[in-house]
Symmetry: C2
Subunit: 246 residues, 2 copies
């Protein structure tokens, strides 16, 4: 948090949060903000661009910016880490590894993780819960180069993301999430304490490093009575896409 424009974006976010600028009200003009913070207009524009991308404020040429919402979307870190998300809500995350083994990468694994087929990759089946109640079943495949760091982690570690960062400095930078619905199978039903054929929200995701190298891919199934996902988007900024089944 060195950059001045990030500091200003943060101050504006907080001001909106504590309703100094209420929803529907107009933000000061760029020149006023620039004078107030003692920076140039370009720097202010970088700050407000961030808030616009988050959907906190709307903007039209010629008119003052308008505050659209107060609660801001989660950070990528919070989305990535189940434990961090739970903590932010004041809930306790639990986790338990059910099975863990090396298998040769299938063709699908190879494509998703950019490896050669047959490379041994680490499969982990993990149940995650909030305050003890199971809500998520994770079937994760880790790339060969990170597997050695994942393998020794104890089965009930609440935050794998945190552990990998502490141990290896690994940070997740990009994610691609494909979302659909499936009926719970026998194993799903058992581990999530729901009836068979209950609808589950399935999120298949690939996470990569800053350089774009895939680290892991996962088939996550959420109890749809416990968890949902929300996406905010706009004309300028659209991360959501509809897809047909292949």
């Amino acid at each position: 948090m060195a950059a001045r424009h990030e500091e200003i974006a943060d101050e504006l976010r907080r001001a909106i949060d504590r309703e100094e600028y209420t929803v529907g009200s107009r933000l000061p003009a760029e020149t006023d903000l620039a004078a107030h913070y003692g920076v140039s207009r370009g720097t202010v524009r970088q700050a407000v661009a961030a808030l616009t991308a988050e959907g906190l404020i709307g903007s039209r040429q010629g008119a003052r910016r308008v505050v659209l919402a107060s609660r801001r979307s989660q950070s990528f870190a919070e989305l990535r880490s189940f434990a961090q998300w739970a903590r932010a809500m004041g809930r306790e995350a639990t986790g338990q590894v059910i099975a863990q083994e090396y298998r040769p990468a299938t063709a699908e694994d190879a494509v998703r993780l950019q490896l050669r087929a047959g490379t041994p990759v680490l499969h982990v089946l993990r149940v995650r819960g909030l305050d003890g109640e199971p809500v998520l079943l994770e079937r994760t495949v880790y790339a060969d180069w990170i597997s050695p760091a994942v393998e020794p982690i104890e089965p009930d570690c609440p935050s794998v993301t945190q552990r990998l960062y502490d141990d290896t400095g690994l940070v997740f930078a990009y994610g691609e999430h494909v979302i659909d619905a499936v009926a719970a199978g026998a194993q799903d039903a058992d581990l999530l304490s729901v009836r068979r054929t209950s609808p589950l929200l399935r999120v298949r995701r690939v996470t990569t490093t800053r350089e774009g190298r895939p680290v892991e891919w996962s088939d996550d199934r959420y109890r749809s009575d416990a968890v949902s996902f929300s996406v905010h988007n706009s004309m300028d900024n659209n991360a959501l896409a509809r897809k047909t089944a292949e």
Copy 2:
């Protein structure tokens, strides 16, 4: 498409699409691009910022930008309009209104559409299909001020979005989508030609104008064997958030 930086962003997108820059390769330096297009570095930065937000290229201070993916995400217009999306895939969109009536706004409607409870709002139940096969059931509520423009539209109009734009100049600028899974009810099953209790992907969305005024909200149910959603995000740009059921 007047702005130079948008033109440049588009040219770069196309160049990546036709694999002039292949995935994994490095983009020319900002100064080179600036010289090539005859603009300043600031303008180039605006262009590449757009591609970075879309997840097409990755970027680290000090190192040249890297091409991460080739297929670009859909525009907001394509997400908003079922018909436009279908056309982009070379499929034909069909639509049929099953029921349409005015009802007084419930408390929930009032909150979502920013109206007073009791205001008459237009409810529309619509089935959408691809090449004749039903894939989506839309239960939409339109705000009172747009209802008069929606009401006279013929029941089998393939693109309501297009009609509203042509007739009233209305453009949708922001969207909030909440995604979860539900079991098909009797009506859902009937209209979508699936068995009862099949898993459906539910997308509850609110769409607003450029000024942040809500236009409509909708409960969309997709056949999960036909359609899924994908979200691309990053540390800089995260539109996706996990939520607990209230």
